[in-house]
């Protein structure tokens, strides 16, 4: 039986700018029917490009492709467009990372799910509708009928991804290519999607090419893994080989970067409270169409942050973490309760490195801004302090003249931290500081924050949805759900014997079940 997929020294060159740029160098991949293969690498490693080439979606003429991609013996690169189209959507299907933008906003869900059938089969509309609803039920969507008639913006992130999978697998494809399907989702939803894909592989014998930058996820799903860096396949082998005895130095670095849960530094005893909130309630007026609803975001929250501590705040998106941070900073006025802060100018580090630096200003200007407004330091003093701070976060002085657009994600986040340090704050609130970064860079930034914590005695309020990072960084952890703090306690208690069911579920879906700590 010929292999399902045989890719041999595939090279992709990109001809948009003046000088052609090679993105993928002699990429080889073989897949058997029903096999699940992982493709791991950081952003810019060429993993998505290779996947798109396999799916035949790199048809733009400024993409030069050399080499062989054989699907069941037929070379996709040389066959005619119409032959390629017969495969797409019937034999080879693909799902993408951003569920919201990957669905057509102005078309109904049902219409988009059925499209595969409309193209490849000549079923009657009723039959197609029946098949579509069955496909939606297969991906565990309750009342598929309502979802069938609704629009993409009316569904949650997880639901939308399930719709994508339903649309892709409705034609029982032989190969499903999943390009980082779970990155934009919450932890709990992430594990559900992975389970779903396992079920599809088992029942429909669909081979899956799973692309991701999250090694732990890949290890849970795939049998074989290819590690890519800078367009080259650095190493490939079974999951066990790669994890137990990585041959390549880069692979080892990748594995180390996964936050360990084993670290057992002693818990820091806490000093007096730095800042606190006393039964805070915050609600927004959300105008849904004609009627106005009062959405209750924070429900009587009280907490204290002690000096010299890193307090973790864990919860899924939409549970009110960011609102809590903004209320603590005074950016939002709570309906009831009050906020107390012993020391002035507590600072904040934001999640999206691209939105947190003013694109029209130089790094130096941004860093000196707090001094310019709140202190009467002379320009020379300001420059000296910013030079000191920029070097403290590991960047050279000449970065001060650069614009944010010239920096990488990691560098930008370092600049944010440096700016936060300018006023010598006692407390810094970090709202998901590393979740937008690649794993390796994530590790470096976390190491920097820990160093600052130790050396300058700055305490952090660390907000994240990634339980592993929280475990590595924080002493005390609070778990939030729908605007309420459901459980709080020191690290050992939360991870060893969580009491609240929601905390248990969070730990299980992050692969940190109370049993073994992976």
């Amino acid at each position: 039986m010929s292999k399902l997929l045989h890719v041999e020294d595939l090279n992709i060159e990109f001809h948009d700018h003046l000088i052609p740029e090679t993105v993928v160098y002699d990429f080889d991949l073989d897949m058997e029917p029903g096999e699940i293969v992982g493709l791991v690498g950081e952003s810019g490693s060429g993993k998505s490009m290779s996947a798109l080439a396999v799916a035949g979606l790199l048809s733009r003429h400024d993409m030069k492709k050399r080499g062989v991609i054989e699907f069941e013996g037929k070379n996709i690169l040389s066959c005619s467009r119409s032959e390629l189209r017969e495969l797409q959507g019937d034999e080879i299907c693909m799902i993408f990372q951003e569920p919201l933008t990957s669905l057509n906003p102005v078309k109904k869900i049902g219409w988009q799910v059925e499209e595969g059938l409309k193209i490849h089969t000549d079923m009657s509309p009723e039959e197609r509708k029946k098949r579509a609803i069955k496909a939606l039920e297969d991906v565990e969507i309750e009342d598929a009928q309502r979802v069938y008639d609704s629009y993409p913006h009316e569904l949650s992130g997880g639901m939308r991804q399930r719709v994508m999978i339903a649309a892709a697998t409705i034609g029982n494809p032989k190969l499903l290519i999943a390009d980082e399907p779970t990155t934009a989702l919450d932890v709990t939803v992430q594990s559900q999607i992975v389970e779903l894909m396992k079920k599809i592989n088992r029942e429909k014998k669909t081979a899956i090419l799973f692309i991701s930058h999250d090694l732990s996820l890949v290890s849970a799903l795939c049998e074989r893994v290819l590690v890519m860096k800078g367009g080259y396949v650095v190493e490939s082998g079974s999951v066990k080989e790669i994890f137990e005895s990585p041959k390549e130095e880069y692979t080892r670095k990748l594995i180390d970067a996964i936050p360990k849960c084993g670290s057992t530094e002693d818990l820091v005893e806490n000093g007096e409270p730095l800042a606190g909130m006393k039964d805070i309630n915050v609600s927004f007026i959300k105008r849904k169409g004609k009627n106005k609803e009062k959405v209750h975001v924070l429900k009587d929250i009280s907490l204290d942050i002690y000096e010299g501590e890193i307090l973790g705040l864990v919860g899924e998106s939409g549970c009110g973490k960011s609102t809590l941070a903004k209320t603590l900073l005074g950016l939002i006025k709570p309906d009831t309760g009050h906020v107390s802060a012993k020391f002035p100018n507590t600072q904040m580090i934001f999640q999206d490195p691209y939105g947190s630096l003013n694109p029209s200003k130089t790094v130096g200007f941004i860093m000196e801004e707090p001094l310019r407004n709140l202190t009467d330091k002379t320009p020379e003093e300001r420059y000296a302090l910013s030079k000191e701070m920029i070097e403290k976060v590991g960047l050279s002085e000449e970065f001060l003249q650069r614009y944010p657009s010239e920096l990488s994600g990691g560098q930008r986040q370092r600049v944010c931290i440096a700016t936060a340090l300018m006023l010598g704050p006692k407390l810094i609130i970090a709202d998901e500081p590393v979740s937008a970064l690649d794993v390796t860079i994530q590790a470096e930034v976390l190491k920097l924050m820990m160093k600052l914590h130790m050396e300058m005695g700055i305490s952090f309020l660390f907000i994240s949805h990634d339980l592993r990072v929280v475990h590595q960084m924080c002493d005390r952890i609070m778990v939030m759900k729908d605007g309420e703090i459901v459980e709080s306690g020191d690290r050992v208690k939360i991870y060893e014997n969580p009491s609240h069911p929601y905390t248990k579920e969070l730990l299980k879906s992050a692969g940190l079940g109370p049993g073994g700590v992976k």
Binding site: D16, H17, L18, K326, L329, L331, N345, Q347, M348, F350, Q351, D352, G355, S356, L357, N358, P359, S360, K361, I366, E369, P370, N373, L374, C416, T419
Partner: protein, 265 residues
């Protein structure tokens, strides 16, 4: 981005502007003939080496008149755009940033301004303060404010929720500083292309007003007035109307190509 295409737009735009702006600029100081000197023998004379654009119904050299005329038209356009964009931007800032009551009533006034034909507004100002370049500038400037205000407001609504604005607040910047030091520079690209488009609309509007006889007063002429005068001699002396018309078209085409050039985005 197709790099070749951008240059194409940019180059064409620049040379069109060169053909129109250089004579306009030179026209401020020197013109081959005195734009107002009349010479009966040359009345409605066709194109000749001495008069490359021919002469008008007073025997005045059309090329010199276009030079000084386009100077005046550009002056009006610059004045209008400056007046309209500065005021429009300030209004846009406040309505976009603060929202609430100011936003509501200023937007109401905007709707009124859109519904109110700029023609009548121009006439009121011209009748009040007499005709002439500066009155036309004021009239058109006022008529342009709503469009700028709307554009700037949209930008402010978008930017004010971004993280770096919150960071600026945390850094103790006052509202005014945030509006003008932090947010305004980021609206540069949108403002710049809308200024160029505004420029074109100003030239068109001035030509419209002069066409209806309200704009610039004879004997000094803006392109619009010359075009309306030239129309009367369209049959016997088509060169007069065609050259004037084409100068306007080239001017506007040059600016719109420039605003299209991807160089700024």
């Amino acid at each position: 981005m197709r790099s070749k295409k951008r240059d194409f737009n940019f180059i064409l735009g620049i040379c069109l502007l060169a053909i129109t702006l250089i004579p306009a600029f030179v026209g401020l100081f020197w013109t081959p003939y005195d734009p107002e000197k009349m010479d009966y023998s040359m009345k409605l004379a066709g194109i000749s080496i001495r008069h490359i654009y021919g002469c008008d119904n007073f025997g005045r050299d059309v090329f010199s008149r276009i030079m000084s005329g386009s100077g005046i038209t550009l002056l009006i356009a610059v004045g209008t755009v400056l007046f309209g964009s500065i005021l429009g931007t300030v209004i846009g800032c406040f309505t976009g940033y603060y929202g609430g009551l100011i936003d509501e009533c200023l937007m109401r006034i905007n709707d009124v301004a859109l519904a109110f034909p700029s023609l009548l507004l121009a006439l009121v100002i011209v009748s009040l303060m007499g005709t002439g370049k500066y009155q036309v500038m004021l009239a058109l400037g006022l008529a342009f404010i709503p469009s700028y205000a709307r554009i700037v407001r949209g930008e402010y609504l978008r930017i004010k929720n971004l993280d770096y604005v919150k960071a600026a607040k945390l850094a103790g910047a006052s509202d005014m500083r945030i509006m003008f030091v932090h947010i305004l520079p980021n609206t540069k690209t949108v403002l710049f292309s809308s200024v160029l488009i505004g420029f074109n609309n100003a030239i068109l509007a001035e030509a419209g007003l002069s066409f209806l006889g309200i704009g610039v007063q004879p004997p000094d002429a803006s392109l619009g007035r010359m075009l309306s005068e030239a129309q009367a001699y369209m049959f016997t002396n088509p060169s007069y109307v065609l050259f004037t018309g084409c100068t306007i078209v080239m001017l506007i085409l040059g600016f719109s190509l420039l605003s299209k050039a991807k160089r700024w985005q």
